[in-house]
Amino acid sequence: MTTKMMGAKVQRVEDDRLVRGTGRYVDDVALDALHTAVLRSPHAHARILSIDVDAVLDVEGVHAVWTYDDLEGAMAEPLPLLIPHPTLTHGRTQYALAKDEVNYVGEAIAFVVADDRYVAEDALARIVVEYEPLPAVVGLEAARTAANLVHDDVPGNVGARMEQSNGDAAAAIAAAPHTLSLDLKIERSACMPMEGRGTVARWDPDQGRLQVWTSTQTSTGVRAAVAAKLGLDLGQVDVITPDVGGGFGVKIVHPWPEELLVPLAAQKLGRAVKFTEDRREHFISSAHERAQEHHVEVGFDDEGRVLGLDVRFWHDHGAYTPYGLIVPIITSTQLLGPYKPGAYHVQFDSLYTNTVIVTPYRGAGRPQGCFVMERTMDAIAAALGKDRADVRAVNFIQPDEFPYEQGLIFQDGRELTYDSGDYPAMLDKIKELVDWDGFESFRAAKAAEGKRVGLGLACYVEGTGVGPYEGAHVHIETSGKVKVATGLTSQGQGHQTAFAQIVADELGVRFEDVEITTGDTRRMAYAVGTFASRAAVMSGSAIHLAAKRTKEKALRIAADALEADVDDLEIVDGVVSVKGTDSSIPLGTIAVLSNPLRYAFDEASKAATQFNVGDPTKPPVAEDDEPGLEGTDFYSPPRSTFASGMHAVIVETDVETAEIRILKYAVVHDCGHLINPMIVEGQIHGGVAQGVGGALYERMAYDESGQLLNASFMDFLMPYVTEVPTSIEIDHLETPSPLNPLGIKGAGEAGVIPGSAAFAAAIEDAERSALPSFGITAMPISPSELFALRAVHASSEESK
């Protein structure tokens, strides 16, 4: 009996190989490959006067060295600006190897290929580069002041200034009975997957074909970029994304310099070539995110209803803009969360600094927007002396208002229109889960023990499943096994499991008989990639549609074979039968019948040869048909689907040491219908941990000359088990999306979005019991910063 797989906590098919150590990550491939190392700039900003590589080729075991001067054709042009936007008036990208100037510590200058990484690094030490150091622009203040410029031809360091509005926010604020202004700040962090970047390439001179294995979030993107840069036809390049050791956004950027240099070297040297990034390289040459400063003006009524909201912010995008304006556009639009301000105006400057590039990190600009909006809600509640949840409730979009138009343009160039949700119901759930109404008595009990506790709440809405499309190919083999390919990649989300659940349900086959391949351009050449919590929505839907198409064909052939009506057929455990009869035929046999053969190679195929099947008066394959039991389909939605959630956290702030302890963490999450609740909850756990990191620990410590002082796991504090909540209370709400056939919404990023907002609120709440003027305006916050902040507020209260 086939049971419904959608919604079941199915154990992952990926795990067997991963726990045995037989997974295949990119560095596990091609053990015969040559290894590479990259000379990286030690300066944040400098002109390159000369590069001398003569001594390198004397090192035994070195095969080749490249600098900019060795690059030709498209390889000598700047790297692609992946997402151009009309507002990005001064977009700049780096070269695969620096030309004349470097703009951040870590920028690639020379590329060495050698027998192994040890020898390649020995060789790097022999390269002599003469630099003329230039003043470095580090941090938003320096970028904004623009006393020095990152790029000579970018005035004011402004890459883009963008403005959007819905209504007249300034007028609404001016007319409002109450107003507030806030200045808020979030620091830099980074994705930090446990596996860094990596690429392997093999050139096959006999076929004139390049095979690239890369740790990416977009195989098809890398394929197109490699083909364009190396002057190859798309058909000469295969890109395979094997197991990926985490992505969290950073691996959507492509092509990285090494993703082009490795294939180039493989082609030139006729050997397999490999680049494996080390951790220090990941810190200084892969992407960061988050750093923004916001100024908020808000006008509201006596109930706390926001009448006008005006946000001006500055976004630090680092030295180059390969990923366009996606992060600040998301911040500026998703800042609104579940709320409907009377009028909204937002303007941001996206600024250059001499630091590592800034591109999406899980949440992609939403944690900052959520922090700003939720700090504003808390400030309104404090100003009015109202319950913080009540102030949120009066601002919610109501369930009967969907689809709700925010009157803005989203990151995909489409209207920001929320498809579905139920925020009041969600608020009820989170209040119950964290015991919102019982908190004051809990606080009093803790106070009696001399302890200081606080409660914070943060709400968000997340546009997920952005277009343009994903596709899927479903093939039922004559064995009855189902082989499915979709083009986007996996980096730990359990796609092989979740997608197989969808196929098993739609086709009526056993889950065990379904095999999913992701991120292999040989199997599915049309795809976009894994980002924006889009894989389940996009590929999940495409796979559902392709399976449906395959099923229709199977039933049509079966109806013929069984001399029955299609409507009377059902498929259970891979066998098509006429309902209520013994008449049946396995899908494997239907696959045999679907492909008329001239030659037999086994018993099954004998049944499909032309003397055995078909009407001899008709073509073996009908005009409107094709051989094989297969189906391909694509899913392309009109716009994103909007998931939502609310987090509540209770913290204790140590009265003496200012240490911050998490006592309770609660999550209510709505991603529409759940495919696999076990996987969704795993995603939430991981997101919450990254939220804890972003709120309490992680920051990129650049000094004024642009040196990253904490470029190691020793100094960049990522949460261990000792830093995360011991348990997370989770409740789900399921408001299905009307935009896709499965009613699903994305879930991957959600857990991280409200972290800083919820912790800031909880810590502030705890501290206000002792210092009523206490406020948190910047995150992350460390115990020593909290300690210092206490002193500031204590002295300001004394002086009153």
Binding site: Q11, R12, E14, D15, D16, L18, V19, R20, G21, T22, G23, R24, Y25, D27, D28, L31, E60, G61, D116, R117, Y118, C191, M192, P193, M194, E195, D243, V244, G245, G246, F248, R279, Q491, G492, Q493, G494, M678, I679, E681, G682, Q683, I684, H685, G686, G687, V688, A689, Q690, S712, F713, M714, M718, Y720, V721, T722, V724, T726, S727, I728, G751
Partner: protein, 169 residues
């Protein structure tokens, strides 16, 4: 001038391997690149993340902080050596699968080896002891809650194994 090679014999998962390596070659690189045992992963190469943890004479060690030549003469167990003799998943492996203790799987081998040693030393860990056991390993995907569950479940499975061995004996 080529580097001096040292002929060493490594005993990995009970099998002896003769390799020639330079003195500076890390055990992690020797396992992965010279012996093709790519289950051991390298996450930081400075001994903080724990992904490369292997057991040396039963004790968890960071194979990125150890030279291959230093491992000569010792028993090294990698993730590839954690399955049962009949090829079925070992208790820690099985517990990770059951408890959804892994997502991308990159840090997982280091957790599996660490926990294998941990539950050998403490067969009945409390949740707090389970947390202590894994407090030196980084995971960026799971948030650790399910890994803590997996530690307790692995200890339970290992206890069941011992009970059935005792019963059979």
């Amino acid at each position: 001038m080529s580097e001096k090679q040292h002929e060493i014999r490594l005993r990995i998962n009970g099998t002896e391997h003769d390799v020639a390596v330079p003195a500076r070659r890390l055990l992690s690189d020797a396992l992965r690149h010279d012996l093709g045992l790519t289950g051991t992963h390298v996450g930081c190469e400075h001994g903080v993340c724990g992904a490369c943890t292997v057991l040396v004479d039963g004790e968890p060690m960071r194979s990125c902080l150890m030279f291959a030549v230093s491992a000569a003469g010792h028993d090294v167990t990698t993730v590839e050596g954690l399955a049962r003799p009949d090829g079925e998943l070992g208790p820690v492996q099985q517990a990770f699968r059951e408890c959804h203790g892994l997502q991308c799987g990159f840090c997982t081998p280091g957790f599996l080896t660490t926990i294998t040693a941990g539950i050998a030393e403490n067969p009945e860990p409390t949740e707090d002891e389970a947390r202590d056991m894994i407090a030196g390993n980084l995971c960026r995907c799971t948030g650790y809650q399910n890994i803590v569950k997996a530690v307790c479940r692995a200890a339970e499975l290992a206890r069941d194994d011992r009970a059935s061995e005792d019963g059979a004996a």
